[in-house]
């Protein structure tokens, strides 16, 4: 299975709400996905219902947390890219199949990413996430 990553439908809807200055919040949180086999990211995934049978980790250092850094960058046109970095430190033995990047209210997932293969985390292992998303007009 390829690594797949996509903006979700609910993530785009949240982005539109932000542009309309309605009740919405920006990219703020991140959580690791738990599944024994690799998952496939789909646009229809939501915060409550991630891809396939994946679920959010709720402990062991892989649970929902504030993203370490969120910034802007330029790829094609000035400021067209959002970048984010985060480090998870596992406090137990857990499988990580992917991640969800969520809003500040922790009710919408903007981006779903499913890794190439399941990462078998052990106690004190670290997982460094390096992400960027570009809005491309051409």
């Amino acid at each position: 299975m390829a690594q797949t990553q996509t903006w979700t439908d609910t993530g785009i809807a949240e982005l539109i709400l932000l542009l309309r200055e309605e009740a919405a919040t920006g990219m703020e949180s991140i959580v690791a996905l738990e599944m024994a086999t690799p998952c496939t990211a789909v646009v229809g995934s939501t915060f409550a219902d991630p891809a396939d049978t994946a679920i959010h980790h709720t402990d062991s250092g892989l649970l929902l947390a504030a993203i370490d850094t969120v910034g802007g960058a330029t790829v094609n046109t000035a400021g067209d890219t959002i970048t984010f970095d985060h480090i998870f430190t596992a406090t137990g033995t857990k499988n990580v199949a992917g991640i969800h990047v969520c809003n500040n209210s922790d009710d919408v997932s903007f981006i779903e990413c499913c890794f190439n293969a399941v990462l078998a985390m052990e106690n004190t292992d670290t997982l460094t996430i390096d992400g960027q998303s570009t809005i491309n007009q051409a």
């Binding site: 990553q5 991640i99 190439n116 293969a117 990462l119 292992d125 390096d130 992400g131 491309n136």
Partner: protein
Amino acid sequence: MPEATIVRQVMKTIVTGEHREGVCENCKTLLIKEFYMDGERKRVRLVCPKCGGMGRLIAKTYSVQPPTPPRCLRVKCLFQFFKDTLFCALLSGYHSKRVAYAEQNRHKEILERYRTGEPSPETMWQAIHANIKLKCPICRKYNKDPLLFRR
């Protein structure tokens, strides 16, 4: 060009995950989080407070991007799309098997390319070779290409 279609890749997302041990490779000290500036981008990394070292890399995932849809209905465009799709499938298969292999052998000595994912195959021919090599235990052990008998 009446048959031309405009293709928009509106949101392109690239994510990589780097799985490392949480203790320093050199002195086995527990690593600490450090924020730093990479140009104008504020970033974060884990470093050893004693020697500045890092944790041993176990596996790094690779973001495979889907092929660009064909821009026209000519045979040339469709054939290019077919080639891109085939390459994408081979590349995806290689990186999936590579990451799984690196995870399964986290405590063993394996070729560094299977942990980092670099160099990644850039052509279909390279992807075919890389897939065959990854499946062949003798080729992996002696770091030899099974078709060319060289590295």
